[in-house]
Symmetry: C2
Subunit: 379 residues, 2 copies
Amino acid sequence: MTTSFSRGVGLVSARVAHFDQPLPLRSGSVLPAYDLVYETYGRLNADASNAILVCHALSGHHHVAGHTDPDNIDKTLGWWDNIVGPGRPLDTERFFIVGVNNLGGCHGSTGPKSINLATGKPWGSDFPMVAVVDWVHAQARLADHLGIRQWAAVMGGSLGGMQAMRWAITFPERVRHAIVIAAAPNLTAENIAFNDVARQAILTDPDFHGGHYYAHGSHPWRGLRLARMLGHITYLAEDQMAEKFGRKRRPEAGSYGFDVEFEIESYLHYQGDKFAGYFDANTYLLMTRALDYFDPARVAGGDLAAALAVARAKFLVVAFSSDWRFSPERSREIVNALVHNGQDVAYAEIESEHGHDSFLMDDPHYHAVVDAYMKRIAT
Amino acid sequence: MTTSFSRGVGLVSARVAHFDQPLPLRSGSVLPAYDLVYETYGRLNADASNAILVCHALSGHHHVAGHTDPDNIDKTLGWWDNIVGPGRPLDTERFFIVGVNNLGGCHGSTGPKSINLATGKPWGSDFPMVAVVDWVHAQARLADHLGIRQWAAVMGGSLGGMQAMRWAITFPERVRHAIVIAAAPNLTAENIAFNDVARQAILTDPDFHGGHYYAHGSHPWRGLRLARMLGHITYLAEDQMAEKFGRKRRPEAGSYGFDVEFEIESYLHYQGDKFAGYFDANTYLLMTRALDYFDPARVAGGDLAAALAVARAKFLVVAFSSDWRFSPERSREIVNALVHNGQDVAYAEIESEHGHDSFLMDDPHYHAVVDAYMKRIAT
């Protein structure tokens, strides 16, 4: 179950599916046509009963596993490569795995960077607000396109786990298993508050130009950098930061100024700079807003059990002890709602020091739990 | 012990003390001359044995108690008015209370907004970095100026509590009691990380102009606003935010856009806008950096007990259960170090829902603890 290149899915490449049928969105807008970029690993079996949809989180994309450049394997590995491959928990000898970049994204699917055919210019901030349920509808059309009537499993971590939950509610007959990792039934006020600061950093950056920065040849990198730095603080656990960085000084420290003095500053700047160099600010806005709005219990007057009652899927819910963004307590709300309904749910609370990012880590206990659950899934 | 205007200290006004003797700073720089603005409440007794120094936190100042405008009492009350006055825990019938704006501040004491006599222009980012120990040295000269050889107590919350600790170490003979509230022996990596994001928001604001924005007639309000919004998240407790704001929508919500949708967003924007309207960005940078650097145990190889051993003061340490910025665990490090040394320390851990801001609140249990302690102080 450990990561080794020899056992990964190897060289992969993305495909694009084009959809001409307009997509009505939660906001009331309609997306006239769109592309979804996706990757697949393993082989779809004859009755298309072995397909797993892996949904990505805030900054993720369709490139889940394998590498895209044989000369640069390390740097082009998928974001969840450690869990996908022959003999790994998402065993490509048994399953056909699908990764897709969500609408509004910046990795190939239609999003703010794409050309709006109505204007011939990038959508920018005119790209409609997308909700988790919109992604699920778009993913359902991709499933149709691939000949998948029912997913063996829909799964994901964080915002990806919310998509799995939403799938089980919106298309009960199309999901046999929903695997919800490091997620929550909705965002707390504190979660929204952090997203708000991140968005305000972008929206008030003079280079944002009301979201039409492409035309100005600029990009609100300052705001996006701040957003990512702040995000990183919430992805890590406090104890982990204390152990890894503590109060360690940089070799160049001693300026008694505002240059980098502490290791933790250097780390955050590196992460912020890197992210701001490749991610799209409008996508960041859209993804965080989708998080804010996600609240499947809302239509049921806040009753999560009532909202989940329609689901036919079996659930695996996984939470991590040191995750303070979406704490185990929030996962237990989901579990309790399912238990209340008499629905089939397995729950694992994993001891982990890596905070919210734990769901991406190659932790033996965590992967063993997922592996054991996946082995129970009939194909 | 409850707050009522009739029992407050009434109308107050600030005074300014000018110091011509150069002040050597921790950074190696020397401040050639400086002003300190201060207020006092109560009367200094004949042998000057009843004086209490109240040290302020990140965004505080010298105006601790009373009001400055009889026509606008509510809006001009001092930041800690609820604890100062006749019959209140800091009883002005017994004590002579001193509040002072620290060097580098923006409320009247010499700081980045002040004119640098060497250039005839505002100091801006040329204002030297100030450390907690520098404030203590400057405050000691104010004590001399006021004829106070020894403080009955030095006290404060948060960064103010750090000053009390530093006083007890730097001037053991000049402090009889150190009252350290909602503080910590130093900042964690996570604390520094939040400060770093706040500073980067200011430093990368195009209106910052390298800290010389006064000359440009501008102010990095965007960055300062973000810094304050982020700060506010860390001052509040998560449960408190959940209860007060939760997922409540604004009346104008429903835009499916990036305007304010949730109450928590409205609250943060209000706090950020208000603060950015009156506080100075360079001061914010200096104060957060002083927090980062504060670490009295560092010269003792990280041994806090060794660093505190020189203190002659008796200590009261107070922490709040819901404070996650400086958690009770951090206060207990101070208490344990003092206990290890056989020093005199009282410790109170107050149940409170108000997070780090609890130290400013009029909580009956908290104020009773401080009141009881103050009554033990001989004058």
